[in-house]
């Protein structure tokens, strides 16, 4: 970064060198402390059963017995399939509905559209706790308990407002002349949306996808309420198989946690730039 220019000559001075070394040490210690809870999960998952939990940060007698022992009873492949389906479907719905709505608000305003948009955007502030009970009753009314749609639709609704806001901001930045020129050429509105607006909004699509995947993949409470049937559960509920008051199988619980966390961390590390700019509204540069 540009802030460095002045520091580079200073590096040659002994005091600056030791300061820099200290900085690295401090950062490494902080990063290690940050990693402790994750290391704890992994080491417990990979240690010999019965050794006791959470005492060590690195596997004691490395074994994959907990992992392999957890996969069957907790129906891990099934739960992964459920979570993938629910996450993918709600992400598609949010991207499609939110971008279409934003396109309507920006390019095809109608009487009252500003009010509709304002109310829709105001729901960004809703806390899920404050609508959970009636939401549950809505799902009962539509017979959506133990049904994929019972999670797909609420997750889509919860992710929708922020997505509309992001798409609206992206579409407002599209040059007016571009859409007008296409319209004069006789392009139908949906064609303008698909050929001009969506390609320009690609970074926004990435942001919305990341936000929605995190929302749907990581949700716990709604999944707990809606999916009471074990075969329809999501990955977040996997640990429950091994948690009971009298026979808590910690190693296997933590094996399920490791199984559902490692893919998230890998995907995050691969796309960390997109994740971080997505979660901060695109404000972070390298």
């Amino acid at each position: 970064m540009s802030s460095v220019a002045h520091r580079r000559p200073a590096r040659h001075r002994p005091r600056a060198v030791s300061q820099r070394a200290l900085l690295y040490v401090v950062l490494a210690v902080l990063a290690f402390v940050t990693a402790v809870p994750i290391l704890l999960v992994l080491s417990t998952a990979l240690s010999t059963p019965g050794y006791g939990i959470a005492t060590h940060l690195f596997p004691h007698n490395l074994t994959f017995a907990n992992i392999t022992g957890a996969i069957g009873p907790a129906h891990i492949p099934r739960l992964f399939a459920n979570s993938l389906l629910i996450t993918a479907a709600s992400t598609c719905i949010v991207v499609a509905f939110a971008s279409l709505a934003a396109y309507g608000f920006v390019q095809h305003p109608f009487p009252g559209s500003r009010i509709v948009m304002f109310v829709l955007l105001a729901t960004i502030m809703l806390t899920s706790a404050s609508i959970l009970i009636p939401l549950y009753h809505v799902l009962i009314t539509f017979h959506l308990l133990n049904n994929y749609l019972g999670l797909i639709l609420p997750y889509s609704a919860l992710g929708l407002p922020v997505a509309v806001l992001l798409f609206r901001n992206a579409f407002l930045a599209v040059p007016r002349e571009l859409a007008e020129a296409a319209r004069i050429d006789g392009a139908a509105p949906l064609r303008v949306y698909w050929r001009i607006f969506m390609p320009i909004a690609k970074p926004t699509i990435a942001t919305v996808v990341i936000l929605q995947v995190l929302l749907a993949w990581n949700d716990y409470i709604l999944a707990l309420l809606v999916m009471t049937s074990k075969s329809l559960a999501t990955v977040q509920l996997a640990y429950i198989t091994f948690s009971s008051q009298f026979n808590n199988q910690f190693e296997k619980q933590f094996a399920t946690l490791a199984l559902i966390t490692v893919p998230v961390i890998v995907v995050f590390v691969l796309f960390q730039r997109q994740f971080i700019s997505g979660l901060t509204g695109g404000a972070v540069k390298e």
Binding site: T34, P37, I93, A101, S156, N218, L257, I265
Partner: protein, 321 residues
């Protein structure tokens, strides 16, 4: 002759052409509006059923005494709110106190930690992106993983924290999450771990907006690093600090899934938060009316904070311009 006709007819022809195009334009305009309605409709339908209707129901139910199942609901007027606001329910009082603690103590620490990390990383470092990525990982983890991992951190005797303290010669049998004295602070530490990375990247973004020329000028004047932070960095970060403080406070009101896993509000309601109360009253005690009243208050406070935030942002942007 023909030129006369043409001249005399010209205005008429022109007005006819104008009238035609107005009719055409208004019809086209109507069509465009209808298309707009069609584009917006799916999103609005989804939001109406799964967001707006639940909000209205929450408000309605808060005036009833209802267990959520019984076909009969008893109208109790503002009784639920009276119980909540007069402090007649000690558990709710505890939850409000804990939520306040969550923002009054938790938010400043979170901001301080996030800013410190951002300041450390905002320079040309090898492994800068690696460090940033590591600090950010907790943000993408699920509340279940965070809740269970932090339970394990605090196990009395064998937990990593107690093992560490024992190695240093301290008491290693402290039940951090089961002891009413430490439970809320231990929970707050887990929350701090979860969100510091997010605060850090917001601060990093804001730091990158500060023009380097300001620091160069200060250095020419012989200002120390600390003076530069105090006189340049902090004043220019004020809008971001305010924004994050508000987001953190709203986060305290929203918090409940990680805490549901970590403590469930226990021991004996010592870590109850307002969000947890809604869930426990509604889904475990079947006090749906009462839970709805708590949820309505939560809605009101969140929207008030959000309005405050929007107002502040609008003012800042105006003053920047």
């Amino acid at each position: 002759m023909s030129s006369i006709v043409r001249r005399s007819l010209a205005p008429t022809l022109q007005s006819v052409r104008i009238a035609e195009s107005t009719v055409g334009r208004s019809r086209r305009e109507r069509r465009r509006q209808l298309q707009g309605v069609a584009f917006v409709a799916p999103a609005v339908a989804l939001a109406l059923v799964f967001l707006a209707y639940p909000v209205l129901k929450t408000i309605q139910w808060s005036f009833y005494n209802w267990n959520g199942v019984d076909p009969h609901m008893t109208w109790v007027g503002i009784d639920n709110f009276r119980t909540l606001l007069t402090g007649a329910d000690p558990y709710f009082g505890r939850a409000v106190k804990n939520t306040a603690l969550w923002s009054v103590i938790g938010v400043p620490i979170q901001l301080g930690a996030g800013l410190t990390l951002a300041l450390l990383l905002n320079r040309n470092l090898r492994f800068r992106i690696t460090f940033r990525t590591l600090f950010f990982i907790p943000v993408v983890l699920s509340p279940v993983v965070i809740g269970l991992a932090w339970q394990a951190m605090y196990f009395p005797g064998t937990g990593i924290l107690n093992t560490f303290l024992g190695a240093l010669g301290f008491n290693s049998h402290w039940a951090w999450l089961d002891n009413p004295k430490t439970a809320i602070y231990a929970s707050l530490a887990a929350n701090l771990w979860r969100y510091t990375g997010l605060t850090m990247v917001f601060f990093l973004a804001a730091l990158q907006m500060i023009p380097q020329s300001l620091y160069e000028a200060a250095r020419v004047d012989g200002a120390s690093d600390w003076t530069q932070i105090k006189r340049i960095t902090l004043p220019l970060l004020r809008p971001m600090i305010a924004l994050l403080a508000l987001l953190g406070s709203i986060g305290a009101l929203k918090e409940f899934d990680m805490m549901y896993v970590l403590t469930g509000g226990g021991p004996a309601h010592n870590t109850d938060l307002i969000g947890l109360q809604v869930f426990n009253q509604g889904f475990q005690l079947y006090h749906v009316g009462y839970a709805s009243a708590i949820a309505s208050l939560l809605l009101l406070v969140t929207f008030a904070l959000a309005a405050l935030q929007l107002g502040y942002l609008a003012r800042t942007y105006r003053s920047v311009r």
